[in-house]
C-alpha cells in the first residue's frame, strides 16, 4: 500500500511538469541566493573578527589598571615576562604575546600624522596570529631600522617600502624623543585603528626608546582555547585589567548581533514568500484532482492514505527544490569562499572600513540545515488548507460535479 502511495505521489508531483519545475526553480533560486548572501555577510564579519583577534587583542588581553582609560605608558605591566611564562604553562592557553604601545606623531619630510608605535616580537606574533598574512607590500622584517606600517597610515603619509619616517613621542621621563625608521613593509590587518595608526617596530627597540625596562609592557594578549579562561585569569590577576575580545571590541559583538538579526529577518521574509508559492501550487494541484480524491474516498480508501499521499507530494516537490537549491547554493558558496567578490574598484572605501578589497564568503552547515527545516515546514504547512478541503468533501457530490 505504502509503496503504491509513494509511486502515486511521485507521479502526481511531476504530472504538471511546468508548474512543478517553476516551483522547484523558485525554491532553488531563492534558497541559493539567500545562503549565498548569508555566507558572504558572515564571511565579511568573521574575517574582520578573526583578523581583529589575531592582530590586536587575541581572545583575552591584560592591561595595567587605568591604562585603557589614560592611554599612558605610565600605567604598564611591570613583570610581564613572568606573567607570560606563567600563562604559557596554563591549560587552555595557546599563545601569548607582549606589546608596548605609545601614541605620537609620525612624520616624513613632507607630511605628518598621528601614529601609534607598537613594539612587537615578530616570531611570537607569527605564532599568535599569523602576522605574516597581513603583509601587503615589502617584507616582514625589522632589519636596518625597519618598521612595518599600517596601510591607511602609509596612504596618509604617502609612504612606500623604503621610505623614511620619524616617530616622535614622550618617553617615560616626559622627554620628547624621536625615532628614525625605514619602512620595510606595509601591512593590512583590517583592524581600523591599527591600519590607520600603527607603526610596528621590534619590542626591545621600542622599550629602549621609551625608557621602559625589558619586562615592562602595556599589553599581554592571549590566544585561548577555553571559554572559562577569562574568568580564571580575572581571578588570578585581580590587580590587572583582564578583558575579553568582545569587551574590548563591543562593536564586533554588535556587528555580529546585527548580522544575525538581518539574516533572520531575510530568512523569515524569503521563507514566508516561498511558503505562499508552495501553498499556491499545492492548493491548485489538489483542487485540480478533487474528483480523483472523491473517487478514492468513494471506493473506500481511508482519508489518512490520501493525506499521506498529498504529504509525500509536497515533500517530493520541496525536496527537489531544496536539493537543487542546496547544490546551487553550495557551488555559489564554494566560489565565494575560494575566489570571493573582487571589489577593488572600491578598495579605498573598503580598506577605510577595515575590509579587504576581495570579499570572501564562508560556509556553515547551519545554512543548509535551517533552510531544510524551513522548506520542509513550509511545504507541510502548505497542505493544511487543501487537506481540510478534502476532509470536508462529500465524495458523491464531488464525483457527480462537472469538471
Amino acid at each position: 500500500m505504502y509503496r503504491l502511495l509513494i509511486k502515486m505521489a511521485w507521479k502526481n508531483s511531476f504530472s504538471r511538469l511546468s508548474r512543478t519545475l517553476l516551483l522547484i526553480t523558485m525554491i532553488a533560486v531563492s534558497m541559493s541566493m539567500m545562503i549565498g548572501i548569508q555566507g558572504l555577510y558572515d564571511g565579511m564579519a568573521n574575517n574582520m573578527l578573526d583578523k581583529n583577534k589575531r592582530s590586536a587583542s587575541g581572545d583575552i588581553s591584560i592591561f595595567a589598571k587605568e591604562y585603557r582609560v589614560q592611554k599612558d605608558i605610565k600605567y604598564r605591566i611591570k613583570n610581564a615576562e613572568l606573567i607570560k611564562k606563567d600563562l604559557e604553562g596554563m591549560a587552555g592557553v595557546k599563545a601569548v604575546v607582549l606589546r608596548v604601545k605609545a601614541d605620537g606623531l609620525g612624520a616624513t619630510a613632507r607630511k605628518s600624522s598621528f601614529a601609534s608605535l607598537y613594539g612587537i616580537d615578530l616570531d611570537a606574533e607569527e605564532k599568535f596570529g599569523r602576522f605574516g598574512e597581513f603583509l601587503k607590500e615589502g617584507a616582514i622584517s625589522f632589519d636596518n631600522r625597519g618598521a612595518l606600517i599600517g596601510l591607511e597610515l602609509a596612504k596618509t603619509l604617502k609612504l612606500h617600502v623604503g621610505s623614511k619616517l620619524i616617530f616622535s613621542t614622550q618617553d617615560i621621563n616626559g622627554d620628547i624623543n624621536s625615532l628614525s625608521l625605514r619602512v620595510n613593509a606595509i601591512v593590512q590587518t583590517t583592524n581600523i585603528p591599527l591600519d590607520s595608526d600603527a607603526i610596528f617596530v621590534d619590542r626591545k627597540k621600542v622599550q629602549r626608546f621609551l625608557g621602559v625596562k625589558d619586562g615592562e609592557v602595556t599589553q599581554i594578549a592571549i590566544m585561548g582555547e577555553e571559554e572559562s579562561l577569562e574568568n580564571s585569569l580575572k581571578d588570578k590577576y585581580p590587580e590587572y585589567d583582564v578583558k575579553s575580545f568582545l569587551e574590548l571590541q563591543p562593536m564586533m559583538q554588535m556587528m555580529q548581533d546585527m548580522m544575525f538579526i538581518f539574516n533572520s529577518i531575510t530568512f523569515f521574509i524569503v521563507m514566508s514568500v516561498v511558503f505562499v508559492g508552495i501553498l499556491g501550487v499545492m492548493y491548485v494541484s489538489i483542487l485540480d484532482r478533487i474528483r480523483e480524491f472523491g473517487i478514492m474516498l468513494g471506493i473506500g480508501m481511508h482519508y489518512k492514505y490520501i493525506r499521506l499521499q498529498i504529504f509525500l507530494e509536497a515533500i517530493f516537490v520541496s525536496l527537489s527544490g531544496y536539493i537543487s537549491g542546496a547544490v546551487l547554493g553550495a557551488i555559489l558558496l564554494v566560489y565565494l569562499r575560494d575566489y570571493g567578490i573582487d571589489l577593488s574598484a572600491f578598495s579605498d572605501a573598503l580598506e577605510m572600513w577595515g575590509y579587504e578589497s576581495v570579499i570572501h564568503g564562508t560556509i556553515k552547515l547551519s545554512y543548509f540545515t535551517t533552510t531544510f527545516t524551513a522548506i520542509i515546514t513550509a511545504s507541510i504547512l502548505s497542505i493544511v488548507i487543501p487537506l481540510r478541503k478534502i476532509q470536508k468533501i462529500n465524495p458523491i457530490d464531488v464525483i457527480k460535479a462537472e469538471k
Binding site: S18, R19, T25, M26, I37, D103, K111, K158, G280, L350
Partner: protein, 406 residues
C-alpha cells in the same frame, strides 16, 4: 480587452488577491528600504560636510598628494578677490594646517593645528556650535587655542591652562609657542575631536610665517546642487594651472565609495526579496493561465489574435499591479517622509560605530520623489515580466489544441 481583464481579475480572486498582496509588500519594502539606505548615507555625508568639510576646496597642485610647504597656496588675497565675484559662492576662508606636538606638564600628544578665521569658520563649519566649555576663538589675534575634547583629555587640560606647541613653520624652520586653552569642542567625529586644535589664523600666521599663505581655501556655496557649475566658474576665474579646485565628491571620494559599496550590498539583499516575489507572482500567473487554456483556445478560435491574448494578460497584471502600487506608494511615501522629518533614534549607535565616521544616533530616511518613482517602476516592470512565461506557455498551444485542453 480592458473590461474583459477586469472581469477575469474579479473572477479569479485567489490569484488576484495573492498578486495584489505580494506587489503591495514588494512596493512598500522597496521604497522604504531604499529610502532608509539613502537617508543614512545622505546623513553620514552631510554630517561630515557640516562638521568640518567643504563644498569646494582650492589647493596648490601636489599639496594633497605630496604635501610640504612648497605646495602651500602663496597668494591667498588674489584668489579671495576672485572668489568674491563668483555667483553662488556664499562664503570662503583660508586654512593653514600643520601637525605638531602639544604638551602640558608631563603629557604630550600629536595634533593637527589649524589656523582659521574664527568669524568665517563659525558660518562655514560646526566648530563654534561644537563648543562644550570655555569660549570660541575671537578675531583678536590672541594666543588662544580651541581644542577637541579628545586632545583635552589626552593632555589633561582644562580651559585657561597653558600648553606648549612644537612644529615646523612654513619656511621649514622650527616653530614653538605657548597657547592658552580658550575652549574645548566636541563635534562627534571621534578622530577629529581626538586630534584637532584651532588657533586664530591672524596669530598663527605670525608664528608660522604664513601671512597670505594657506594650505587650502574652503568655499561654501549657496546651493549644493550647483556645486559643479560653481566649481567650473572658480577654475575659470583662477586660470592657474598650479591650482586645483575640487568639489566634495572628490574630496570625500572614499566616503562616497563606501556609500556605493553599502548600496550594492543593500540592493543585493533587495534583489533576493524581489526575485522570490517575482517567482511567486509568476507561479500564480502561470497556474491561472494553465487553468484557462481552454478559454484562450476558444478565444483564438473565434478570431482573437495572439497579440490580443497577450494584451488581455498584460491588462490583468497591469491593473492588479497598478492597484497595489497606487495603494502602497502613498503609505510608503508617508513613512519615508515622516522618518525623514523625525529620524529613528538608535541609542548608542554613534558611539559604537565612531570608527566609521557615524556622528549621530539618528537614522533619517530620504524622501525623494524621483527615487520613489523608479522604485515603483521596477516593481511594475518585474510584474509585467512575470507574464512572459505564462504567455509563452499559452502561445505553445494551437487554437484547436487549446480549445480541447482538459
Amino acid at each position: 480587452m480592458f473590461h474583459f481583464a477586469l472581469k477575469n481579475i474579479l473572477f479569479y480572486k485567489g490569484r488576484s488577491f495573492t498578486t495584489f498582496i505580494l506587489t503591495f509588500i514588494s512596493t512598500m519594502l522597496f521604497i522604504v528600504y531604499v529610502s532608509m539606505m539613502d537617508g543614512s548615507h545622505d546623513s553620514m555625508l552631510k554630517n561630515s560636510l557640516k562638521v568640518y568639510g567643504s563644498a569646494i576646496e582650492i589647493y596648490h597642485k601636489n599639496y594633497r598628494e605630496l604635501g610640504g610647504n612648497e605646495y602651500l597656496i602663496k597668494d591667498v588675497k588674489t584668489i579671495e578677490n576672485k572668489l568674491a565675484n563668483i555667483e553662488g559662492v556664499q562664503l570662503f576662508s583660508s586654512r593653514y594646517e600643520t601637525y605638531g606636538l602639544l604638551s602640558f606638564k608631563e603629557y604630550s600628544t600629536a595634533s593637527m593645528i589649524v589656523g582659521i578665521d574664527p568669524q568665517k569658520e563659525a558660518e562655514l563649519s560646526e566648530l563654534k556650535n561644537a563648543l562644550t566649555s570655555g569660549e570660541y576663538l575671537k578675531n583678536d589675534g590672541q594666543n588662544c587655542i580651541y581644542i577637541g575634547k579628545g586632545v583635552a583629555s589626552k593632555l589633561k587640560v582644562k580651559v585657561s591652562d597653558e600648553i606648549s606647541f612644537i612644529g615646523g613653520a612654513s619656511d621649514n624652520s622650527f616653530a614653538a609657542d605657548i597657547f592658552r586653552v580658550c575652549g574645548v569642542f566636541k563635534t562627534g567625529l571621534f578622530e577629529f575631536d581626538a586630534s584637532a586644535a584651532f588657533v586664530s589664523k591672524e596669530y598663527f600666521d605670525t608664528l608660522m610665517l604664513s601671512q597670505n599663505k594657506a594650505s587650502y581655501i574652503t568655499v561654501k556655496v549657496d546651493d549644493l546642487n550647483e556645486v559643479d557649475r560653481i566649481n567650473g566658474e572658480i577654475i575659470q576665474a583662477l586660470n592657474d594651472e598650479n591650482l586645483e579646485s575640487l568639489t566634495w565628491r572628490t574630496l570625500m571620494k572614499t566616503m562616497v565609495e563606501a556609500m556605493e559599496v553599502d548600496s550594492i550590498f543593500g540592493y543585493v539583499s533587495l534583489a533576493l526579496f524581489l526575485t522570490v516575489i517575482f517567482f511567486v507572482i509568476m507561479i500564480y500567473g502561470f497556474i491561472n493561465v494553465s487553468s484557462r487554456i481552454k478559454e484562450f483556445g476558444i478565444l483564438r478560435c473565434i478570431g482573437l489574435s495572439k497579440m490580443r491574448i497577450f494584451s488581455l494578460l498584460f491588462y490583468e497584471i497591469f491593473i492588479l499591479s497598478s492597484l497595489a502600487i497606487v495603494m502602497a506608494t502613498p503609505i510608503a511615501g508617508y513613512i519615508c517622509h515622516y522618518y525623514s522629518m523625525n529620524p529613528i533614534i538608535i541609542e548608542g549607535i554613534a558611539e559604537m560605530y565612531k570608527d566609521y565616521g557615524i556622528v549621530s544616533d539618528e537614522l533619517p530616511f530620504s524622501f525623494n520623489l524621483f527615487t520613489i518613482s523608479w522604485n515603483v517602476l521596477v516593481v511594475l516592470v518585474l510584474n509585467i515580466l512575470s507574464i512572459v512565461y505564462p504567455f509563452m506557455y499559452v502561445y505553445s498551444f494551437g487554437p484547436i489544441e487549446a480549445s480541447k485542453h482538459v
